[in-house]
Structures are given as structure tokens and as C-alpha cells.
Symmetry: C2
Subunit: 361 residues, 2 copies
């Protein structure tokens, strides 16, 4: 029954696009032979996990599990192939009703054109845990610099990149400079981007050239001391703390100072940028949610302001305008849609670039 439904979907989609997909033969290379970017920890036992959780006994199990998701990871390579495909296997997420399967267990590909990273195609996940899909087809045969983004809400078990027989395929260096960790909630993690490359840390990378690292842990960015202690020593050039949404107002008050001071102790003189929670659109009429967000953001501002008295390298980006002003920037009231993510980027980007410039980054 399921396969019949999926066949039906596939037919509908093929029909909807109107373009039959050609299936040229591909030669596959394990993506581990190419360049994996987007990881805060360079060595993990499972290549597409974001952290070696065995090394951190004290971090909460939920955080460990979420850090096995391949959010923010991408493969950097160049090829002159006229078509690029992928074979990948995920652990198989549960079904998220506020995300597309392309986002939570699929792929998307960008190709550099001049100075711009330009969207080229997606990998649509199939019913089983493994899929083969042609990401982009019928291209000219010039050498192209490519980025393939991995699923944001699932564990990626295997990934191979396919090119036409005889075409070149080479690892490329990380195209993004410096390292900026973004620690945050489901919003950083990638919900509800329509595809992996639309998560806001990924958008910031492409639009600024800086290497923003996705340390989003859906529902669990609670500034626990164990997590603060794990993050603090990482070899970063800057930190962005977008971790208000998952904390109670009381937790914001109790935990913010420890997190900031833990990072500061390891990174004197480097920018730490705190971001207030987006004002969730499900608070437009729900007075309880509206009050909770006011308290969360109010307490965060209070904590950060107090710390700024003795920390001149600590900055704040306020919630004002983060999702625009028309209240249309979320999928479900809590998680930005692509319109909301674009607006977040349009506010955060100039703010962080101004700060980075000041520090010569």
C-alpha cells in the first residue's frame, strides 16, 4: 500500500514538473573521499555525526541524539560532469508534519557561478532508508564547484556522489573562511526550512563566505552546564547564541551567565553574539505564549546587558523585525518558513558582518 502511494506521488510529481528524468549511468565515489564541511568537531566515530557523544558523558541524552543529525553538513567538490547524482542512506526519521521530507532526510545542491552560490537541484528521499536520485542533469561540461547539503533532521549513514563515466570528480577545500558556531534550538537546527540549504546557518555561509557551523539541537538548546563546557573550548573565531527559545524564562536567568563566561574564559577578545528569540507567530493571539516570550527575551536582555558591563566583546541582536512584520514568516507559528529564514538572514547578516569587520575576521 505504501509503495503504491509513493509510486502515485512520484507519478504526480513527474507529471507536475513535466520533465521526465533521464537516467544516464553514473560512477559513484564515497563522499568521505571528498571534503566534508560544517562540523565543529573534526573527529567523530560516525563521519556524519556532529559530535563524538562518547567523549561527553554528561551531556543530556536528547542533545547527544540530536547531534547525530547531519544538520549543516555539506560535501565540497568539483566536477565537469554534465549530471550529478547521489546515493544516500539515512537512519529514517519519524515523519515531521511541519517539514518536507526533502529537508529532514533529503539533499540539495548548489553550484558556484561567479561569486554566487546558485541552487541547482534537490535529492528527494524515497520510502526506504536508501535513495538514488539525479540532483541535476543536462549541464554544460565546464568544471563546477559544488556543495551538496545533507539532511537536517536525520542521521546520514552513507553518502556517495555520482558523476558521468569519465568525468572528473575532486575534493575541494572548504569554501568558507573562519569558524563561527551557532548554538541554538530547532530554528538553528533547520526547522522548517523547505530543504537543507535553507536552514539559516547555511544561508549565512553562502551569502557571507564565513563558515557558520550549525549547532542546533531541536527543543534542547537549554544552556546546560555540560553543553556549555563542551562548546566552550572549540576552536572558533566567534560564537552566536540563539538559544533562548527552548529555555524557560527562569532558565534564561539562571544559565546565560555560565554559558557566556565559559566561552569567554577560553576565548578572550573574541566576539560572542547573543540573539533574542524570534517573536513566535503563534503568540499573535495566544496571550500566554506572548507573555512567555516577553519574559524569555526580557530575561535574556537583562543577563546579557549585565555581562556587557565587564565584557566589551559581547553583543546582542534583538528580536525586533527578525521575522519581518506581516506575521507570515513561519510554517507552524514556531518555526520559520523560508520567508522567515530569509528575513532572519537579512537582519543577522549585516549585524554580524559589522562585528566581524571590527575584529578583522
Amino acid at each position: 500500500m505504501l509503495s503504491r502511494l509513493l509510486l502515485c506521488t512520484t507519478l504526480l510529481i513527474s507529471s507536475a514538473t513535466g520533465f521526465a528524468q533521464k537516467q544516464p549511468s553514473f560512477e559513484y565515489t564515497d563522499a568521505q573521499k571528498l571534503t566534508l564541511i560544517g562540523k565543529a568537531f573534526t573527529s567523530t566515530p560516525a563521519v556524519y555525526h556532529r559530535v563524538d557523544t562518547l567523549l561527553y558523558a554528561d551531556i543530556p541524552p536528547a542533545v547527544k541524539k540530536l547531534l547525530t543529525h547531519s544538520s549543516g553538513l555539506a560535501i565540497s567538490f568539483s566536477t565537469n560532469s554534465t549530471a550529478i547524482s547521489a546515493k544516500w542512506c539515512t537512519k529514517k526519521s519519524p515523519h515531521y508534519n511541519n517539514m518536507t521530507a526533502i529537508a529532514y532526510e533529503g539533499l540539495d545542491i548548489y553550484i558556484k557561478r561567479g561569486n554566487q552560490w546558485v541552487f541547482a537541484g534537490v535529492g528527494r528521499p524515497e520510502a526506504d532508508t536508501c535513495t538514488e536520485f539525479t540532483l541535476v542533469n543536462n549541464m554544460d561540461s565546464s568544471v563546477k564547484e559544488c556543495l551538496v547539503y545533507l539532511p537536517v533532521y536525520d542521521e546520514t549513514k552513507e553518502l556517495s556522489i555520482g558523476v558521468r563515466k569519465g568525468a572528473s570528480l575532486q575534493a575541494r577545500p572548504n569554501p568558507f573562511k573562519k569558524n563561527i558556531l551557532i548554538y541554538g534550538s530547532s530554528i538553528v537546527h533547520g526547522a522548517s526550512a523547505s530543504r537543507p540549504g535553507m536552514a539559516y546557518p547555511a544561508m549565512l555561509c553562502r551569502q557571507t563566505g564565513y563558515n557558520f557551523i550549525n549547532f542546533g539541537v531541536s527543543g534542547n538548546a537549554k544552556m546546560e552546564r555540560s553543553v556549555a563546557d563542551m562548546i566552550a573550548p572549540l576552536p572558533m573565531d566567534a560564537f552566536i547564541l540563539d538559544c533562548v527559545p527552548n529555555c524557560t524564562p527562569e532558565q534564561v536567568t539562571e544559565r546565560t551567565a555560565y554559558l557566556v563566561k565559559a566561552i569567554r574564559a577560553k576565548h578572550p577578545g573574541k566576539p560572542i553574539i547573543a540573539v533574542q528569540s524570534i517573536v513566535r507567530e503563534n503568540s499573535n493571539f495566544d496571550l500566554d505564549i506572548a507573555e512567555k516570550i516577553r519574559q524569555q527575551n526580557g530575561n535574556f536582555l537583562k543577563e546579557i546587558s549585565a555581562l556587557q558591563k565587564t565584557d566589551k566583546d559581547l553583543y546582542m541582536i534583538t528580536a525586533d523585525g527578525l521575522l519581518g512584520s506581516d506575521h507570515e514568516g513561519t510554517t507552524d507559528g514556531t518555526h520559520p518558513n523560508d520567508l522567515g529564514f530569509d528575513r532572519m538572514v537579512q537582519k543577522i547578516k549585516p549585524a554580524v558582518l559589522k562585528i566581524f569587520k571590527k575584529y578583522g575576521l
Copy 2:
């Protein structure tokens, strides 16, 4: 196994939002006792079908099936309830990997604030065919004008609106004036809006106050004569034809004139607005798709230009800038994400308003 996964998802989502959902008791009213808006045909045997397909023997079966989807339909009512919930049943769509389940089989609710329709919440569909969900909670008790949008890619079998015991609940008139049919592809139908209210005809309604009617038939807007003959006599004040994406270039040439003339014969002196296909973002590197779109749009412009010589009420909105210029406006290369839909609206809205003004609409 499925239910375990879904439980897991629900927990993750509850945890992600950080706000436990209160479950006050609700009194339910069948939505058929309220006001259903968005239908081109006022009488259909199944209330949430867009057309009585039995009356049109000659239209293609795929078109008939797609017109059973509740795309663009909404319930208009007012209430002073502090919480609003819904119980609804869908036929149960196949799983679409380029859409959220909230869009294809869920709900969203808007509430009027001053002159603006403001997003208030969503209805997340559950695993079974029927779901009960609190759309919005903890509101003040003023009387509010509400719109609940129905699923865009599924057949809605039943729908009831729940309010707190003792609260008022009344049918409201259609808040949108005149009738403008938008005939088109999956893009009109609602793929890949993140929720029903983000399909572009729905956005146009809220932003302009005009009643744009969703006549999107995913993959099947092929300007067949039988469909043209079905659409032409409808009591509309204007027509928008966004039906290029599903046609071959040859079909565009062969079929455009018949469709326009069929409508014109029934509606002398009323505006007909032709819209070129968006330039799909999967054509950024795929030379075959790029060439096909050039031909589709070129042939459409040629046909419309020829017709305009004798039809002064026929207009054209070109593809230029419909998705913006950063190539980020789609979920999968073909279907706009909410960013793309917002950009389409920002181009189409002023163009149609200018035309409507000319006709005193």
C-alpha cells in the same frame, strides 16, 4: 512502529515549542453550518470538492480527481471563544516529499486585526485520517472574525470547528469581494506552500480583499478544450491564466487561443490576465529545462500578443522577477517555497490591482 515514531515526533515537537498544549473542552459545530468560501461552483455533491465532476463527463480523470482537493477553500466565522479547535478528516493523501503535511492535509487559521488578516495557528494532521487539534488558545474574549483554510492536496471529508462551551460561533459572510478564477498548475494548487494559507491565491485574497478562487490542478493544467468549456461560463469578474508550466511548448501554441476565446465569448469586456511560467530554479544549470521554459514562455507570449490585437481586455504578466533574483524561491526547483510565493504576490498583486481599478472592480 508508525505510532511509536509519531509519538516520538509529537514529543519532539512539544519539546521544541516548549509550550504544553492545554486541552480545554470544546463544543463542535459542523463547518457546513458556517460559511464555506473559495469555490467556483456553488453546488457540488461533496461539499469540499471544487467541482461536481459528474456534470463534466469529458474532462480528464486526473483533473476531476484533483478538483476533489479542498485547495483554496476556507471557513468564515466569528467567535468570542478564547480557544478554537478543529476536528477534520481527509481521504489521506499519499506522502508528498516536497510539502509539509500541514499543507497537504492540515489547516491554518487567520484572525482579522484591524484591516489585516493575521496568522493565528495551525492544525497539525495526525497519522490517522481524522484529527482533533487546538488551532489557537489563551486568547482574550473579544469577538473575532476568523478564516480556517482547508488542506491543499487532499480531499477533506469532514470538518467541525470547536469553541469553548458557552462561547459564540456564527457564520460570517465571505470577507472577499468579486470573483477571480486562477486556473493553473501545482503552483496555483499550493505546492510547495508551507501551510494552506500560503498558497498564492490565498495570499492574494488576504492582501487585496478580492476573492481569488484556486483552480489549480497539479500537473494537469493543460488547457484541454473540455476544461476551457467548463471554466468559461463561470460567473467570474476576471480570470487569471497561470497554466503554462504543465503544457508542452506545442500545447501552449495549440491551446492558448481556444481557452482565451472560450472565456471571452462568455465574458465580453472583462479582464483576462495571462501569466508566464515562473522560470524554474532547476533550470539554473539544466540546459534542457531552461530551453523548454524559454519555448513555453515564448510561445505563450506569441499567442497572447496575437490575441491582444483584437482583444483589448487581455493582459500579460511576464516571468521576469516572479521568483526574485537570488534563485532561492523554490523548495525543489519547480515549486515555490513561501519565499517564492511572497515574491510572486509582490509582483502579481500591483499588476492585477491596477487592472481591476481600470475596470471599476
